[in-house]
Symmetry: C2
């Protein structure tokens, strides 16, 4: 049996462009109560784009939340009414210019389920053709392709430092012959 | 050169038990402006605890943010004045009862740097000795050890569905002989 608590009250605390925050008062089967703050996020796409075997397309951008530049796989926020693959390939094209001739959903994972409902869909994009990018106005992006060895060095140097890009690198490493 | 924007104004929008939210108005070098909502989080620990070779300790709990039970590696929020290894082993002991005779920091990764400053420290805990657990009052936790094969089945069945546990599984898979 799941010990799913009952929600006694729920209140919106913040509503922004990307996410919202609500506070729930809950009661468990045994009568214990808790107040839980939840970040509501529309979900996101992370694109494992392989320009050739054992290589990934990465983007470098300044991340204001963490106060530094990072090399990451292309990613973005889900939009309403869009399929996972279409959304992922839209983000890839916007950020890098690459169009993918083939794509496949690898899996979908909660990023931080302790306080946030964001689910991130990982999509493998293959058979890439270069084209024009069209980043959002607050995105300043450098695009470059890296080998597994080069990315492992970026991890050691702290220039790759986020969970989704680590997952992409481990996935590529496990996939190679 | 980093295109680090200047912060024109910053306002706290929410302050809860685990995280806060602020909104920054920023201006880039080229004069473009943006309004960015940031979740401020104290950081967290994720514990890759190996009771024997090719096995992990997982905990099952109901995650209110995502509305379901998940099997995850032990994890928790950083506390002030605590070293990474001490904090990780504290969380492991609280959630599972296991005390570790050896530990090592594997790496530290931003969970979702697009809007949140949370950094998650991965710690390998080894030479485990069973003991009493002491979960927080709002934690209802089942503890169990799994092989790599069993965990891969849990991933396929959607019962392991979060990024940190996927990273732990891939790390363990890559580490085995």
């Amino acid at each position: 049996m799941e010990s799913r608590p009952q929600v006694i009250s729920s209140q919106e605390r913040f509503s922004g462009r990307v996410f919202r925050v609500r506070t729930d008062d809950v009661v468990f089967d045994d009568g214990a109560t808790a107040r839980l703050d939840i970040v509501e996020h529309p979900g996101s796409y992370a694109v494992i784009a392989t320009p050739s075997k054992n290589m990934l397309v990465l983007v470098k951008q300044y991340r204001h939340a963490v106060g530094r530049e990072l090399w990451e796989i292309p990613a973005g926020t889900a939009e309403p009414g869009e399929s996972v693959e279409a959304g992922a390939l839209r983000e890839l094209a916007e950020e890098t210019g690459y169009r993918a001739g083939a794509s496949q959903i690898i899996g979908s994972f909660y990023v931080t389920p302790g306080f946030c409902d964001e689910i991130m869909h990982f999509v493998h994009a293959d058979r890439l053709a270069a084209g024009e990018s069209s980043p959002d106005e607050d995105e300043r992006i450098v695009v470059q392709n890296f080998t597994i060895d080069e990315m492992q060095k970026l991890v050691r140097d702290g220039k790759i430092a986020d969970a989704k890009t680590l997952i992409a690198l481990m996935w590529l490493h496990a996939s190679r012959e």
